[in-house]
Amino acid sequence: MTTRCDWFPALPAQALTVANTVVAASVCGQDLALWRSASGSVQAWEDRCPHRGVALSLGRVLGDRLACAYHGWEYAAGDGRCVAIPAMPHQPVPGKVCVKTFAAAECQGMVWVAPAENPPAVPPPVAATDTTPHFLRSIAIAVPWAMVEAALAAHDFTPAGPCQWRGAWAGHDRLLLWTLDASADWCLLHVASAAPPPQAQLPGLFGALRHLRERLQIAAGT
């Protein structure tokens, strides 16, 4: 098993285009809306509008703001403060309306999130590579995090930092893997290659990943 720290590998940073997508994610049981503001910084917010509880991951990025899909209330990147209530365009917005935000940081192509009340004192762990990894696939596996970690250890992968592994598999000899504890009963496995992957061998790798998922889920009875 790898160690754990305050940061968790939520998703490959390339999945968050600037001022465009909002991705629903789950980290250690906390539902999140992940998005990237026009200024480029990654945001990890509670996936819940403080007005009527609607999922903010259904919303829309407006530059440096995220707008809720239900009533269009707009929240500012950074502190998550409400800055516009379109139903009352001529009145000031009360200062207390605020989305709950979490620390998020990008590190060598991975978005790391700290789902704790207070932001961690140290930056997220550095990946075991000197170049930006080539992300290949993220798969969801409906088993607890520790089971996936045990399976990677049994596959002779080498721990490479908190929630990170490196090793060889299915014709790829410079693989990097991140395990995300999404919630008590499922996790995500992010798979990347430190070098440009041999295309002809990708189907074999994806098949091996699917097989791993099946095997673990059958073992867990899920």
Binding site: R48, P50, V54, A55, A69, Y70, I85, A87, P89
Partner: protein
């Protein structure tokens, strides 16, 4: 199987179990199953077309009114069902739009039905359109005689207020809450000045977090086919459904810091206060430890 709540607001009142038309081919030998408050019911009609209902082998009071079936699950006397005089008004089209399953508290569904501020965002191009987002001041009151909530003097710019609307209009609305799980909307009739089209929302609570929302149209409408009117309502509810099912908590918080309330949420605040004063617990969020 017992009913999943003892809340007298539900157990001592009439609750819908769907359209009366479902019993047309349901004699006692072939009853229709239905679900209400976590319990299975059987519905059928006798040779005189009178509805019957049983749960746990026990007969329950059932009536057919406004094209819908209403069941009383409590032991005490049943109150009178709310009035809907437009239903019997000559010339009105009565269209049952069917039921739509929604995985949330019925109180969330009713609150959404009472809300205008979401029109430009959820029903873009029909019931609203940016930049017409402002909710102008309106009034809410609880009618002393009936105990019903009325929201009046509501109006909102709508690009296509109904299936028959041609151009955008400043649609005038009146909202009415008859019971915790039933509401009605009176809106400007595009075809007849001075008349109000009525949309009834009758929510059938399967349990605290699962409902069927039934929609009844009582319209002054001469041109459109039933199918066109139903399709319009299905489009509108199809837009609301993913929003409603994403709300957390699923059960409605009646107080506390979970949700923020503004002047534009007056109907919602009035509805929540009204539910609180009645002591409604079914479909209501309770803080852990509270």
């Amino acid at each position: 199987m017992p009913f999943c709540t003892a809340d007298p607001n539900l157990r001592n009142d009439w609750l819908t179990v769907g359209a009366a038309s479902q019993l047309r081919a349901a004699p006692a030998a072939h009853p229709v199953p239905a679900r209400l408050l976590g319990n299975d019911l059987l519905l059928w009609q006798n040779d005189a077309a009178a509805p019957h209902c049983s749960a746990d082998g026990r007969a329950l009071p059932i009536i057919s009114r406004y094209g819908y079936l209403w069941v009383h699950t409590g032991d005490g006397p049943a109150p009178a069902l709310f009035e809907l005089p437009e239903f019997a008004q000559p010339g009105r089209r009565i269209v049952d739009c069917g039921g739509i399953g929604v995985a949330t508290s019925g109180l969330r569904v009713v609150e959404n039905f009472l809300d205008m501020a979401h029109f430009p965002y959820v029903h873009t191009g029909t019931l609203g359109k940016v930049p017409h987002t402002e909710v102008a001041p309106y009034r809410t009151a609880v009618d002393a005689a009936s105990g019903e909530i009325w929201a009046t003097e509501c109006h909102f710019f709508q690009p296509r207020a109904s299936a028959s609307a041609g151009d955008g209009i400043d649609a005038h609305y009146r909202y009415r809450v008859m019971q915790p799980f039933t509401a009605a909307l009176y809106k400007t009739c595009p075809n007849r000045a001075g008349e109000w089209d009525v949309i009834g929302l009758f929510v059938q609570p399967l349990d605290d977090e699962q409902v069927i929302a039934h929609v009844l149209l009582v319209y002054d409408e001469d041109v459109l086919l039933d199918a066109e009117m139903i399709a319009f309502q299905h489009m509108i509810f199809g837009q609301d459904k993913p929003i409603l099912e994403s709300q957390r908590p699923r059960r409605l918080p009646l107080s506390g810091p979970l949700e923020a309330h503004m002047r534009c949420d007056l109907t919602s605040s009035t509805y929540r206060r009204w539910l609180r004063q009645r002591g409604v617990t079914f479909g209501v969020h309770r803080e852990p430890g509270a």
